[in-house]
Symmetry: C2
Subunit: 298 residues, 2 copies
Amino acid sequence: MVDDGMVAAVEAGGGRVVDAGEAEGIVWTNPRDPQGLKDTLEESPATWVQLPFAGIESFVAAGVIDPRLTWTCAKGAYGRACAEQALALMFAGARRLAHHARATTWREPGFGSPERQLDGSTVLIFGAGGIGQALIEMLEPYEVSILAVNRSGRDVPGAERTVAMDGARDLLGDADHVVIAAALTDETRAWFDGDAFARMRSDAVLINVARGGIVDTDALVDALKGGEIGGAGLDVTDPEPLPDGHPLWDLDNVMITPHIANTWDMALPALRALVERNVANFAAGRPLEGPVDPALGY
Amino acid sequence: MVDDGMVAAVEAGGGRVVDAGEAEGIVWTNPRDPQGLKDTLEESPATWVQLPFAGIESFVAAGVIDPRLTWTCAKGAYGRACAEQALALMFAGARRLAHHARATTWREPGFGSPERQLDGSTVLIFGAGGIGQALIEMLEPYEVSILAVNRSGRDVPGAERTVAMDGARDLLGDADHVVIAAALTDETRAWFDGDAFARMRSDAVLINVARGGIVDTDALVDALKGGEIGGAGLDVTDPEPLPDGHPLWDLDNVMITPHIANTWDMALPALRALVERNVANFAAGRPLEGPVDPALGY
């Protein structure tokens, strides 16, 4: 994929676009072709590779992430787009938009209706990186309590309380909204299982704008059908694409969006800006933005 | 309707709950019974009436609003709940939640998908009272331009530009989101007509969290079907309830919520707090919150 804007970004960063055989760095923009990158690297002396998205597990799985090279990804660059989607799905849960969108008749008259405000609620953010921090900024105007979970347990600015992963289960019961914004790693894979859902409130909503594999989908379906949790808003699923006929499609309290938190149109301007900065950083020998730790896989 | 919490609010404000025949003020909590209030007033020496909601047109229509009395309503008290709903519907439009909620299959693969971010967009707020001001606060974290329309044209804090009603049509073409948050009056009734929709962008979304009658519904259906505007998010409709089989139910780019911006559960704590303050204000001879101008009807 040759993108004129990306060529311009490389040049604006002080670089020059050359063949792989003489490249010092590679800007790889196609997230769906790890094998193509592997082939390219074999014929290139490049020591730095810029990957296009925040999640790099397809490259990890394909064995492309050679730890002798320097790797950067776009983590953080799309935080605001994904945080907007998280908030959209939080509102969808609180205001029952999946239910209302499918209705073809007005509600019964009367005062009682179970929609809720964000004001007064507690939001747990599981994985407080770029998305989580952007979400915390967007929640600033509301009267909400924010609980954060990250790998280190180091305080996240704006969160009332931050815990490390091993303390996270004890907080699940405090949240009205549980927002997954973590990387998919061995540690987070299927972290949201039957035990996690049993700990959540029966009216709590699970939001996932990160990776489907962080959730045990069968356990989620059981929890939704059994009323153990109140609903879900999913921009990502496991498997993904979600197959036709999957039970998640039919649940009145589930809003599924087909991985559109950060569309290509939203991403491209941010990716170009990141490439420009990282080309300049690379040329000057400065630290690069979005470094990947090959050992951690993100 | 006797509500213990409301009795407590009256008492907390320094008042006492008595029969209508000896009341100095009346707190009327049922928005659906203007005739009941009319009957009550005939046997009461009360000089002040507190109405329960922000919109009072049912009381105006029933001829209850005697201009010799002092009237207050709950305008402003529910601004945050309604502003949250406006934002929920803006996200629904930008993220195509009505479309996604009804889908039973994943989208076609590929990068192109037309969802949009709020960041970078322009929001026009038609009627910048309590709801509009709360919405402006909630939009603070986003990179959005805010245009405001109010009766006076006096600058609304946080808006890039404010115009009076007669200048509003010229601004319609600048907005990605047009949010109706005005009172229903002779001036605003059916203000959003074919001409207004023709001036809006073909990808703009109309949001209405105020009163259905501000929009000419037939013209809206035509504009949505004809692609003159991009979509709509409606918490209120005209007629309301929206009848079964109405064409708005079937449009892929319309999210309808059945007047749940401010549910009774959300409203009650705010109304009680307002009643407490206004009972205290009334007893002390201070100005009351939420005064109604009988001549303007809001």
